[in-house]
Assembly symmetry: C2
Homo-oligomer: 221 residues x 2
Amino acid sequence: MSPPARRTGRPRSAEADRAILGATRAALVELGWSKLTMGDVAARAGVAKTTLYRRWTNKSELVVDAVAALLDEQLELPDLGSLRADVEETVLRFAALLTRPEAGTSLMAVVAEATRDEALRERIRTTIVNRQKRLVLLGRERAQARGELPREADPAAAARTADMIFDVIAGAVMHRTLVSADPVDAPWARDFAEVLLCGFPAVAGGDEAGPATAQKPAGSG
Amino acid sequence: MSPPARRTGRPRSAEADRAILGATRAALVELGWSKLTMGDVAARAGVAKTTLYRRWTNKSELVVDAVAALLDEQLELPDLGSLRADVEETVLRFAALLTRPEAGTSLMAVVAEATRDEALRERIRTTIVNRQKRLVLLGRERAQARGELPREADPAAAARTADMIFDVIAGAVMHRTLVSADPVDAPWARDFAEVLLCGFPAVAGGDEAGPATAQKPAGSG
DNA sequence: CCCTTACGCTACGAGTCGTAGCGTAACTGG
DNA sequence: CCAGTTACGCTACGACTCGTAGCGTAAGGG
């Protein structure tokens, strides 16, 4: 993609990259997405505004990279000995990250922008979505090693399932935190893990009522 | 909130309201959130730009109302005879709505903006979140009437559960559609409903492996 | 008929985006 | 050491948008 053969001429300053991404995060913390300006980021990073535009085509792409770096750095899968505990802890950590002013807001804004920008969508896919799916894959592997989940025969189906779990977990936490604007606390995480592992009727009915599994899976057309 | 006692002077044109909201939706379809301008909306609606600012303090609040009206108008709960079928159908309808250019993008953008705007957050809560939760409440009621779900003793716990289910469904669909940028199709909806009703291990393992319910619910602190 | 409020219109200040053009700095190959 | 190539800082700029002020006019109510 990017020209790997570039041996001649002055090289790009790697430190400038770090400074710019750091300045972007700092500006996001102080100003938020909507009031963040390229001029401000450049000033904070100690570089010229034109340097920003030489590396990122616009504000959105810059922020995607800044947020991706933040997620990479902050999100790790705990290993607490059970799938349920790992899910709960991951949910809490992800929620804590989303409530930070530079994370959740920016992610939403950038995703909104991406609807009309194929390049940006691709960047989000590769630098955020695909990278964070590793948590689901790793978590499942550990659960399989523990015997909590079966090893799956069909790799395609396994991949689809992992994708869905990723969307369910990330989506639920994002929606609760940012759209509903309600806190993701320990009790919520417990209930959520319960739904994820045992289904909605389990948490709705407690132990007193029957399982009420609501029909069997439709004949799998 | 809004001054209900306003009997004197020229009344506000109700038709202008409709024209503005309609123009906003049309502009969102054509231009998307980021390129929509107040001047453009005013021109489409056939009113002066100042009239927009007399009714909405800024672009975000205007778009919230436009999206809320769209959701109210488009989202209805189907009654297909089983909780599972209703969930699948609702997921598909919601996803179809989100892929429309005036819906998903705008919602994300407005939520992003709301992080730093308490008034906007409140408006989202009342005009979108709380209004759409009716679908979950209604769906549960029907499921209880069918005997698919138990009637709950504790109303507070029941409300919490409903909130969570709302976040899980809406969040998962939004995340898959807008963040992961993958389609929400019938197979995905089937798998999702399976997870929601029976838990993740059910869809991961199929019928061949054991249930593997991964520990019992932690002793409920 | 007077008062009050809404409306259309024009103009404007403030701020941002993203680019062009120039001279200079840094690194490479001969 | 020198020529070629690329990155950088700086200034200036055009285009655009937001949101407001001020004015004259339209539409109702007591």
